[in-house]
């Protein structure tokens, strides 16, 4: 698969053109071909199955454009070397890169994904810390499976300012999220990507294309779909299950809450009645008690996970939709070809 570098996206292709109104400091990302190749290579060498590879992006900001000029991978570390210091490694790496006169500014990180599953708490947390420290940081999501099918899939995401606010406050209660008016749609913003190849890279790609076999080249035309769909559905289903659970939890919570509200209300009413009675009898009113102490509101379930799941589900759906529409097109094409023969 290492040879399956598609020449088609080599030219400057905007992978995503949505989200026109970006109010973040980065409006566009320009990626060196070298970075793309390095990321692909990294996954090729270390990632397998659902395992995820990660790395650091280096580059610099030019006006409202983030240029990513280099990257290096995080080493895959097993549980044996728990004392491995990642920060130390990064610093070391960046220092070394500076020595050879490469951009050494930290501008984000990249991560591979398995069938588009990347919207997770871990990603949110680390992207938040990145964006918190370096404002223009992005996370590049590389989908090796889609890439293997013939179309390079590389997407850049940033957290929306709203989400940043919430993360800063760590207020994941339903009320907090409601107040911030945040939904799964506006958690992440996608930044358009431009891939720019140096001549050397172009040369390398042409060279690779020469070498690749016919079979590799026509992966794009593969008609089989069920495997991919099954996997996607499986993952989707898992997420839906999680979602269901969360909803049940939330349901319980809100039911408890309303029940308690009712109790509280009754209690207050009773109190009032009693006080009225006492007044008529000429006695002193009952002392005020702290109602909040008597009725401790139930712990609201954190909603951030649900949001993330929703985002993930959305993501899966997009993927499936994209995939099926492509496949449908292919099928029609195949039919037409058959009819022609």
């Amino acid at each position: 698969m290492a040879t399956r570098k598609e020449p088609s996206p080599v030219s400057t292709v905007a992978m995503a053109s949505t989200s026109g109104t970006l109010d973040s400091p980065v409006k566009q990302i320009q990626i060196e071909g070298l970075v793309v190749l390095k990321i692909i290579k990294h996954y090729q060498e270390e990632g397998q199955g659902s395992e995820v590879v990660q790395g650091v992006l280096l580059g610099l900001v030019v006006e409202d454009r983030l240029e990513i000029t280099n990257c290096f991978p995080f080493p895959q570390h097993t549980e044996d070397d728990a004392d491995f210091d990642e920060v130390q490694y990064q610093m070391e790496m960046m220092r070394s890169l500076r020595h050879v006169n490469i951009d050494h500014l930290h501008v984000g990180w990249y991560q591979s994904t398995f069938y588009g599953s990347f919207v997770s708490r871990a990603l949110l947390d680390s992207q938040f810390s990145y964006q918190h420290a370096i404002e223009e940081s992005v996370v590049l999501i590389y989908d090796p499976i889609k890439t293997a099918q013939g179309s390079l899939s590389l997407k850049a995401y940033r957290l929306t300012p709203k989400l940043m606010e919430i993360c800063k406050e760590k207020d994941f209660t339903p009320e907090g999220l409601k107040k911030a008016n945040i939904g799964f749609e506006n958690m992440f913003e996608e930044v358009p990507i431009i891939i720019k190849n140096s001549h050397l890279i172009s040369a390398l790609l042409f060279d690779l294309e020469e070498k690749s076999t016919v079979h590799d080249k026509h992966e794009l035309l593969n008609l089989s779909s069920s495997n991919h769909l099954e996997k996607s559905l499986q993952l989707l289903m898992d997420r839906v299950d999680d979602m269901s659970q969360d909803i049940v939890k939330y349901n319980t919570y809100s039911r408890n809450l309303s029940k308690q509200q009712q109790q509280k209300h009754q209690y207050v009413q009773r109190r009032q009645q009693e006080n009225v009675q006492r007044q008529t009898r000429g006695e002193a009113a009952l002392p005020e008690e702290d109602i909040t102490k008597m009725f401790k509101p139930p712990q609201p379930p954190p909603r951030m996970d649900t949001l993330l799941i929703a985002g993930q589900v959305n993501n899966y759906c997009q993927n499936v939709k994209e995939f099926t529409s492509q496949n449908l097109g292919k099928l029609f094409m195949a039919e037409a070809l058959q009819g022609h023969n």
């Binding site: 099954e230 559905l233 839906v240 909803i247 049940v248 349901n251 319980t252 809100s254 039911r255």
Partner: protein, 1020 residues
């Protein structure tokens, strides 16, 4: 501490009276005491010593007991002893006449009177006294007043000098010992006079001869004191060491040396004191409550005194008759259970008494009575309930019971019973039947329990255990004899009890003889033949007879329950599956066993396990699995079977609980092999689960048949490196994997091989038959699995091929496939002429399956979401519009069906509360397919199959749950093996008659939905 020093120095000084006159530091108290003693001794030496000594010894002993009784305020004892004392005093009248009234006697009288008066005055204390004591007090007071009139002068004289008494009291113990032991020795030489002389002026110069002689005397004395008071630890040891070196030195030492020794001696004395105080700590513990100065001495004395007393008692009493013996017996027994009583000595005494009884030919009645008491005291020997008897003690007890039984068998005219009162006992006359109080049955039961305890507490892997186990034969023998006895004499309850004992010793033993007979006497191994010899009657017959008697006659539930369980166990052990199962079902024990006490529950668990293993041997895999499920699924089989404690629980329970649990353990020789159990369970689970998994690969609602089996599979999958299987579990897991692929040969080789044979299969009595059954099952189930898994890749497949692949005959293959087709597990048809199976290919593809699942899940999600919405809105209006869309509300309908069928009563409630949406235009039978629900809902309790047709829209297959399944399965299930009905997923399948489809039956569906619903409902 000072008290001990005081006593220490007292006894020390007592030595000094006899041995070392040279002590200059003798304290004043000692001096006085010696004076008093010497008085006695001077009296003594002029009369015939033996007679006088004896009398006086008797008196002092009695006095001592009285004083003890006074201390503990035991008035009745006081009275009793006082009467004895008076009698004894009368007897020694002649001597007293000669000697004058002994001062200690007077002292006692004075003290006693004073004491009684005190008590009398103390109204508070009197109120607290119990009736007997109060009565005794008044009697005693009157008596002593009358009695003391005769000794008025003496008492008055004594009272003038009360100091004497105080000292005397302290010195009493040494005084006693002195009088008992010193006097003979001292009398033998004229040293006594010298000594007496010396005592009066202890500083007197000592002549060598005078010194030497008493020294020698002391040597003798020490040895003699050793003899008669073993328990005197402190005193005798001390005097021993001291006097011996004294003596040695005394003999060899010159006068000068003797004088020199003075200093040394005093030093030694201190050492001695210290030693003594230390030593006395021990008895002190025992005598703590008494608290008196001579507390420890007093109690020791009773022990020591007893053996002295007894021979005297009978030696003197020329007429040893029954009442005397009974009295003596009671006397001995009175000490029973009291603090500080030497139980060993008591047993000795009883034995001696028994011997005397036999010697004197007092009749069987009394010896039976004594025997009863011996056994009882043997049981008493170990005061700690938790601890077990020592095997030798137990064996003694066994002997006793044997003898007792001998007597009982030899003499028809002895009646024994618990309810015979002490008074109505008849021990004497032989023309009337003897009547003895006591219950041999209880004794034997206790003996049996002790045996169990011994077995529990012996290391099962030691030779000791084997030795102990050999005694089981004797236990059984005794029980058998008693059984014979009881059958003629006992009441039905007693007979039931002894029958149960017999059953408990029989039910877990495999009857090889009967087994071989049933096999037509094939030659078997030698060891089996040995066992066969030991087994007499066919145990099945015995069990049957005994159990049936109990069923008919027993009134206590517990005995019957135990008998039934044992009976089932025995049946199951001998592969009489149907009898065992029917008995189990008839007994209805599953319903209420949880109310039984733990030992019965353990027995129940054992029985269930045995039943399961039996079913497995018979090839009834499903039954085996169901029977074993409860025990195995908890993961606490060890604990549930009473075969060991789990370490996990250690911190949760305290020592007390642990002790109790330990007592419940089943002895090792009755254990059920846990590995065998687990293997049987896992193999059964494999045979059920693998085809099921293959059939339901894409079913979202698939439930596990056996959690434990899945757990093992997961463990197997988690292994980073799969080596060849080692343990039994690994074998099963490997076999399961092979079976999943339909590879029965590999599966077979994993299940049945050398390792597994030795670990598991060889433990069965009919090894080869079981193995054959197993191979057959593996072939069949592999075939099913293969068809499930690979049917999608075939258009058609020849039965011939299948038959060759799985080495099954074509008719078998045909029948298996037909069954699958009928159960709609396999979408295919049989083409008769070509003998092929033609696949219909109607099964949805995995992608379709997946999509269906997703749709269902989304339906759930939407529904849940609606609920959130409803809650926000506070109204249920939302349901109106969406009703038309169908989709998810199909599911609601379906769910409710499932719910209703599952939880008959609560569903109405639920509807009312939570389902108001229904009223708003939610019509029942809205869609055509739904009318089926009605008939299911009506089915109510019995049918677990409800609720399946919710999905019925798309799956025809789903209908299979239907009435037949639920009916058949459910009915069986009622009487089925589940103790724990919460395990819904086995519900419908419980019967096992419905074929593989059973597991699809409503049980699991309903369970799933019901459980889910239930959760929701509880929220409302």
């Amino acid at each position: 501490m000072s008290r001990f020093f005081a006593t220490g120095s007292d006894s020390e000084s007592e030595e000094s009276t006899s041995a070392d006159e040279l002590i200059t530091k003798a304290p004043g108290g000692n001096f006085k005491q010696s004076l008093l003693l010497s008085d006695d001794e001077e009296d003594t030496k002029r009369v015939v010593r033996s007679a006088k000594d004896k009398r006086f010894e008797e008196l002092t002993n009695l006095i001592k007991t009285i004083r003890n009784a006074m201390k503990i305020r035991d008035m009745s004892k006081c009275l009793e002893e006082f009467e004895q004392l008076c009698r004894a005093f009368l007897k020694s009248k002649t001597i007293v006449d000669k000697e004058g009234v002994p001062s200690f006697y007077i002292r006692l009288l004075a003290d006693l009177e004073e004491y009684l008066n005190q008590l009398w005055e103390d109204k508070e204390g009197k109120k607290k006294m119990n009736k007997n004591n109060a009565k005794a007090l008044s009697t005693l007071r009157q008596k002593i007043r009358k009695y003391n009139r005769d000794y008025e002068t003496e008492i008055a004289a004594y009272k003038e000098n009360p100091q004497e008494s105080a000292d005397e009291e302290e010195e009493k113990e040494p005084g006693d010992s002195g009088s008992s032991s010193d006097s003979d020795e001292e009398g033998s030489d004229d040293g006594v006079s010298a000594k007496a002389f010396l005592k009066k002026k202890p500083e007197a110069t000592s002549e060598a001869s005078k010194f030497l002689k008493p020294a020698k005397g002391s040597g003798d004395e020490s040895s003699s004191s050793d003899e008669d008071d073993e328990d005197w630890g402190s005193d005798s040891v001390d005097s021993d060491s001291e006097s011996s070196d004294e003596g040695g030195e005394g003999v060899s030492a010159s006068l000068a040396v003797a004088f020199l020794k003075k200093a040394e001696k005093s030093g030694k004395e201190h050492v001695g004191k210290k030693k003594k105080t230390k030593k006395k700590d021990r008895p002190e513990e025992e005598a703590e409550e008494e608290g008196g100065e001579e507390g420890e001495g007093g109690w020791e004395k009773v022990k020591g005194g007893a053996p002295m007393e007894k021979p005297k008692m009978f030696a003197k009493g020329t007429e040893i008759n029954v009442p005397v013996v009974v009295k003596k017996l009671n006397e001995i027994l009175q000490a029973r259970g009291k603090k500080g009583t030497d139980r060993a000595a008591q047993i000795e005494l009883l034995h001696a008494l028994a011997a005397i009884t036999v010697e004197n030919n007092l009749g069987e009645g009394i010896s039976v009575k004594i025997k009863f008491n011996i056994i009882a005291s043997l049981y008493d020997y170990n005061p700690n309930l938790a601890a077990f008897m020592k095997p030798d003690m137990w064996k003694k007890c066994l002997d006793c019971i044997d003898e007792l039984l001998n007597i009982l068998f030899d003499n028809d005219n002895i009646f024994i019973g618990e309810n015979i009162a002490e008074d109505s006992e008849n021990l004497i006359t032989s023309d009337q039947p003897y009547r003895v109080r006591g219950c041999i049955l209880t004794l034997v039961e206790r003996m049996d329990e002790e045996f169990t305890k011994i077995m529990q507490n012996t290391d099962p892997h030691s030779q000791e255990y084997v030795d102990n186990l050999k005694d089981e034969g004797r236990v059984c023998g005794i029980i058998d004899r008693l059984l014979d006895y009881m059958e003629t004499k006992g009441s039905t309850e007693e007979v039931c009890r002894i029958y149960l004992r017999r059953i408990m010793h029989t039910y877990y033993k495999f009857d090889y003889k009967a087994h071989r007979r049933s096999l037509g006497l094939q030659g078997e191994t030698k060891s089996e033949q040995d066992q066969e010899e030991s087994e007499g009657e066919d145990s099945a017959v015995i069990m049957d007879r005994l159990c049936k008697f109990i069923y008919a006659k027993d009134r206590t539930d517990r005995i019957r329950t135990c008998a039934i369980l044992s009976h089932i166990y025995h049946h199951a052990l001998h592969s009489r599956w149907y009898q065992a199962r029917d008995l189990m079902l008839m007994s209805h024990l599953q319903d209420n066993i949880q109310h039984a006490d733990p030992p019965v529950q353990i027995l129940y668990n054992r029985t269930m396990v045995q039943l399961g293993i039996c079913a497995f041997r018979q090839g009834m895999i499903k039954d085996a699995h169901n029977a074993l499920l409860d025990i195995q699924s908890s993961g606490r089989a060890k604990e549930l079977l009473g075969q060991g404690l789990l370490m996990r629980n250690m911190q949760e329970r305290n020592a007390e609980q642990e002790k109790i649990e330990k007592r419940r353990q089943v002895p090792f020789h009755m254990h059920i092999n846990l590995e065998l159990l687990e293997c049987v369970y896992l193999v059964s689970a494999m045979l059920l689960e693998i085809p099921y998994m293959a059939a339901h690969e894409f079913d979202a609602r698939r439930r596990m048949i056996s959690k434990q089996f899945h757990h093992q599979l997961r463990v197997g999958e988690r292994q980073p490196l799969l080596g060849p299987p080692e343990s039994m579990r690994e074998h099963v897991v490997a076999a399961s994997k092979a079976m999943k692929m339909g590879d029965w040969r590999t599966c077979h080789s994993f299940i049945i091989n050398e390792k597994m044979n030795s670990k598991v299969w060889d433990l069965f009595p009919e090894t080869t038959r079981v193995r054959e059954m197993l191979v057959r099952k593996i072939q069949e189930e592999s075939l099913r699995t293969y068809l499930f898994t690979y049917s999608s890749v075939y258009d058609s497949i020849s039965m011939q091929t299948l038959s060759e692949m799985f080495e099954l005959e074509i008719p078998t293959v045909h029948s298996i496939i037909s069954k699958m087709i009928i159960n709609e597990e396999l979408m295919a048809s049989l083409d008769q002429p070509t003998q092929t199976v033609v696949m219909h290919r109607t099964e949805p593809t995995s992608l379709q399956n997946m999509a269906l699942q997703l749709a269902e899940k989304l339906g759930n999600l939407v529904e849940n979401n609606e609920r959130v919405f409803d809650l926000k809105q506070g109204v249920y209006g939302g349901y109106f519009n969406r009703d038309q869309k169908g989709g998810y509300q199909q599911k609601q309908n379906y769910q409710r069906g499932g719910f209703q069928s599952k939880r008959g009563t609560s569903s109405g409630n639920y509807q009312k509360d939570g389902y108001q949406g229904k009223q708003g235009g939610y019509q029942r039978g809205y869609q055509g397919g739904y009318h089926q629900r009605d008939h299911q809902g009506g089915g109510g309790g019995y049918q677990g199959g409800g609720g399946y047709q919710g999905g019925g829209g798309y799956h025809q297959r789903d209908h299979q749950g239907g009435g037949y399944q639920g009916g058949g399965g459910g009915g069986y299930h009622q009487g089925g093996y589940q103790r724990d009905h919460q395990k819904d997923h086995q519900g419908g399948g419980g019967g096992g008659r419905g074929g593989g489809g059973g597991y699809q039956g409503g049980g699991y569906q309903g369970g799933y939905r019901g459980g889910y619903r239930n959760q929701n409902q509880s929220n409302y």
